[in-house]
């Protein structure tokens, strides 16, 4: 017999997880090249934060008293501050604080908000009504003012700043996920699961929650930029991560504290770092939103 048995035929191996991710990234580049470009910028900034000790030419906290407040030259590309610290190194190290706070605050705030919204949407009733009032109270504060008050009451530090910004993000997660859950729980598959006797817990976490992943991702990515700006503002107002930690907001604040006329390089570079980072996160977020939810494409 020459015909081979079916079992001899070599089946193509199922694509490995790595390859699937690779394919996803490639299609992202093809479908949304601009967003993918900003994704690369985000990756570079994250890489810069992780590899800060290797990239930074100087120690961020070390003063060189022979070159204080020097404009940019070939030794210090971004100049030095009033006590001779290298601005470039401080900008590079500053990305660590910004990214940690933004990621931490958005993950924490959006997750708490999303779980709260899940409970509100699922249970409804009096619990929901009370929660909605509470969320309204939270939203009656302008974000930055609420973050300032909480950061001041809790005292300075990175955890404090993360908590303060996270609390301002809770209402957004709560609102959006609640409305998603309200429409999901009427769907037939949920009803079917309920008919089969699934518990509340199982319905919420096995059947409804997985459907909330896309809106959750959209929420989280669109709020990263805002979180970075609030963190910088807190640092600028002196209630962020306390100095001498190099953060972009602290650097701008230090520049103003130096005197009535701050040297231009101490103002320009940290602000540029904030702007580029926020821009990259916002545009990557737009791209991810378009990818995950084509209905929203082109609207606000």
């Amino acid at each position: 017999m020459t015909a081979t048995m079916p079992s001899d035929r070599v089946l193509p191996a199922p694509p490995s997880r790595l390859r699937m991710i690779g394919r996803g990234v490639r299609s992202f580049f093809r479908r949304a090249p601009l967003s993918a470009f900003w994704g690369v910028v985000v990756a570079l900034i994250v890489g810069m934060a992780i590899a800060a000790p290797a990239i930074a030419p100087y120690q961020p906290l070390k003063s060189d008293f022979r070159s204080m407040q020097k404009p940019p030259d070939e030794k210090h590309w971004f100049g030095t501050d009033q006590i001779g610290r290298d601005t470039l190194s401080r900008v590079i190290y500053g990305s660590r604080a910004s990214l940690t706070v933004a990621l931490g605050a958005v993950l924490f705030g959006t997750t708490v908000g999303a779980l709260w919204g899940l409970a509100c949407g699922y249970f409804g009733g009096r619990f929901d009504m009370l929660s909605q009032r509470l969320i309204e109270f939270l939203q009656s504060f302008p974000d930055l003012i609420l973050a300032m008050a909480i950061a001041m009451a809790l005292g300075g530090g990175m955890t404090t700043v993360i908590v303060a910004i996270a609390i301002t993000r809770i209402p957004f997660g709560g609102r959006v996920i609640r409305s998603v859950v309200l429409s999901l729980k009427e769907l037939q598959y949920v009803e079917a699961a309920r008919g089969l006797g699934a518990s509340h817990w199982r319905l919420m976490f096995r059947h409804i929650l997985p459907q909330c992943v896309a809106p959750y991702m959209i929420l989280a990515t669109t709020h990263l930029g805002v979180a970075i700006i609030i963190e910088a503002s807190l640092g600028f107002l002196g209630v962020g991560i306390p100095p001498p930690s190099p953060t972009w907001g602290n650097m701008l604040s230090d520049a103003l504290n130096a005197g009535l006329v701050p040297p231009w390089w101490l103002v320009l570079f940290p602000g540029l770092a904030i702007t580029i980072t926020v821009l990259a996160f916002n545009l990557l977020g737009d791209g991810i939103r378009d990818l995950l939810d084509p209905r929203l494409r082109g609207s606000v």
């Binding site: 009656s140 504060f141 003012i145 600028f236 006329v261």
Partner: protein, 318 residues
């Protein structure tokens, strides 16, 4: 409509009460001792237990919390906002002296945001996906990413560098010295106004794009009306309703944003006072100012809602 207004007002009053409780919780109950905030960690460590108890009693901090809360609410109702630990001026006087400057900045910036944002939105929406639209969209994305206080610092530096100009550093009232007052207010208003204009342009564009596709706009055009007239008289009023609501939400951005921006410009307004209070850890001034800002934000949003109710016949005629 009257029932709508009444309901909105009642909800507004409830929100202000809720906000006051929340401010109280944040400033007094969250872990973090007010004495530590006042004396600093080192100063606090030096105090003896007796001194600590003495200061707590003197500040009224050893009463039960609800007594403290009611005392605070009573003070506010009487217009008594307490005084700073570090300055002689009472907070009420400070608000009266510095408030108008910040209010002017807010008002000017909102006006500016409409003057800039709406025309940009119209151009973008009428010619979508042209060069003008792309430029406008990119500009608004850029303005959303730039921190206002940084732009403020750059403006101050640039004016000083190229023109040797610096806005006056002392307060000036609109009535006694309009020129100095304008010089103080213009910078922050421009920065905050452009920041809002970016949001307004985005929202206005998508809202107008939606309205233009409506049947009644097609009808108006089909009966031979001038297309400019159709946009101005038929489409724009409806497209602007969501923009007005957004503008109310953006007031929060202005109120909060004016704090760092006033610091950048060294404007002697209420935002600067807030910055001073927060950097001095002046708990009671902070508590009152945070409440004031939140209450103003709530009241302004009620006014915006009532304006919408008046402008939108679907609500007005109900």
């Amino acid at each position: 409509m009257y029932s709508y207004i009444a309901r909105r007002l009642v909800f507004g009053a409830l929100t202000v009460i809720g906000v006051s409780i929340m401010v109280f919780v944040i400033m007094r109950i969250l872990p973090g001792d007010p004495l530590v905030a006042l004396f600093g960690p080192e100063g606090y460590a030096k105090l003896t237990d007796n001194e600590r108890a003495h200061y707590m009693a003197e500040l009224g901090l050893s009463d039960p919390l609800w007594v403290q809360y009611l005392a605070w609410v009573k003070d506010i109702a009487n217009g008594n906002f307490g005084r700073s630990f570090f300055r002689s001026e009472s907070v009420a006087d400070m608000i009266l002296r510095r408030g108008p400057l910040t209010a002017e900045i807010a008002l000017l910036s909102v006006m500016l945001s409409w003057i800039v944002g709406i025309p940009v939105a119209i151009i973008s929406a009428l010619r979508p996906n042209t060069i003008a639209d792309s430029v406008a969209r990119f500009a608004s994305i850029l303005f959303l990413a730039v921190p206002g206080f940084w732009v403020g610092m750059l403006i101050v530096l640039a004016l000083l560098f190229w023109f040797g100009y610096r806005a006056p550093l002392t307060g000036a009232s609109l009535f006694s010295d309009p020129k100095a007052n304008l010089e103080l207010v213009v910078g922050p208003a421009v920065v905050l106004g452009l920041g809002q204009a970016a949001y307004i342009a985005r929202m206005g564009r998508s809202s107008l794009l939606e309205v233009i596709r409506e049947d009644y706009v097609r009808t108006a055009r089909a009966k031979g009306l001038n297309s400019k007239l159709v946009i101005a008289v038929h489409a724009l009023p409806n497209a602007l309703l969501p923009v007005i609501t957004l503008s109310g939400v953006l007031l929060g951005l202005v109120l909060a944003g004016s704090i760092p921006v006033e610091r950048a410009f060294a404007t002697p307004g209420l935002g600067y006072a807030m910055f001073t209070a927060v950097s001095e850890r002046d708990v009671f001034v902070m508590q009152n100012l945070v409440f004031l800002y939140a209450a103003v934000f709530v009241v302004l949003n009620i006014l915006v809602d009532l304006t919408i109710a008046f402008l939108d016949p679907r609500i007005r005629l109900r």
